[in-house]
Symmetry: C2
Subunit: 198 residues, 2 copies
């Protein structure tokens, strides 16, 4: 975990041995079992999460159906909308796998910023990156068909496909589980046209 965290941070800023220890002293690593619900619809939460290991997802429950809208894996962070709006959450957050997360809130953030001013610029860079990436994902979603979106995932996040159940992936792609199942059947048919038995 420490390795994952400091490798990630090292990409942007350099930290002394002492600084690293100060960070670890904050005791920010938390383990969660697969299926743990971190945030429920209607709750007011002030916690932000950063994934060091595992995978978490956000989902809505609409007419009794779960609609998964986003997955977060290693070195990805999520600030739930309700932290910012201070209103009741519209969605759920849960662990797709056993996960190790950094859990923080704004007071802890302020503390870190005071001790490590260099984190401010880091935070700014990451935030800009986040916006740019999110917009790009959204753009790609709009200009693609469900099949293209699935093939894109196969190319760019092949590992993730192995880790998440298909019914969660389906709504992430904007379709039903049945359609995803057929879409996959269609693709593998095309890839392996039936070998004719002479």
């Amino acid at each position: 975990m420490k390795k994952t965290l400091f490798e990630f941070l090292g990409r942007y800023i350099s930290l002394s041995h002492e600084e690293k220890n100060d960070i670890l002293a904050l005791d920010i690593f938390h383990s969660f079992k697969k299926g743990t619900v971190l945030l429920k619809e209607g709750q007011h939460s002030i916690n932000e999460y950063f994934v060091l290991q595992g995978c978490i997802r956000t989902y809505y429950i609409i007419d009794g159906e779960e609609k998964t809208t986003e997955f977060y894996t290693e070195t990805e962070g999520i600030m739930p909308a309700c932290v910012h709006t201070k209103a009741a959450s519209e969605y759920y957050i849960a662990c797709v796998e056993d996960s190790i997360l950094i859990v923080s809130d704004s007071s802890m953030e302020a503390e870190v910023f005071e001790k490590f001013p260099k984190f401010q610029s880091l935070c700014r860079i990451l935030t800009e990156q986040l916006i740019v990436n999110k917009q790009r994902s959204f753009d790609n979603f709009k200009i693609s068909t469900p099949e293209q979106r699935y093939l894109d995932m196969l190319q760019h996040r092949p590992g993730l496909l192995q880790r998440i159940p298909q019914h969660q992936l389906a709504s992430y792609l904007g379709i039903t589980p049945q359609s995803l199942s057929r879409l996959r059947a269609r693709i593998s048919e095309r890839k392996q046209p039936l070998p004719l038995l002479s």
Copy 2:
């Protein structure tokens, strides 16, 4: 324009008369004619835009077809991905209407931050808002059908529908212009079932 700008800023920070004059002295207002292309695919740009009046959009050209992915109207800002990635832009930015924009770049931003430190926290708040809103828009897009997306726009941004051509709106909704046309026909049929001439 000044009014729009200072009303917007006033929602977050308070500015003295002198400070306002300093800001205006930067000469940051620029007028553009409808149709003006601010950024082309392949270009390297360092400019960010903030809309004071009018409307701009981002679009890709794919197989010769324009795919509009986002609209920006009054008090909305856009930092093109290429500003952040320093790579060639993948998309275009153009004015949907005659528009008045604030054009800035990172050096001007640094200048403003130095003169007005309070802008740093403002920027931080706006950025967080942006992420939360973008994620929410994306979530809504995923869990909605094109028809629901259109009806949502009718409810939440009715003014925008009057301002943008339908073929641009169509790709924004993730469909073709023909489908949008039929979708609209379907809706108005349902709303006004044919009055039977006795």
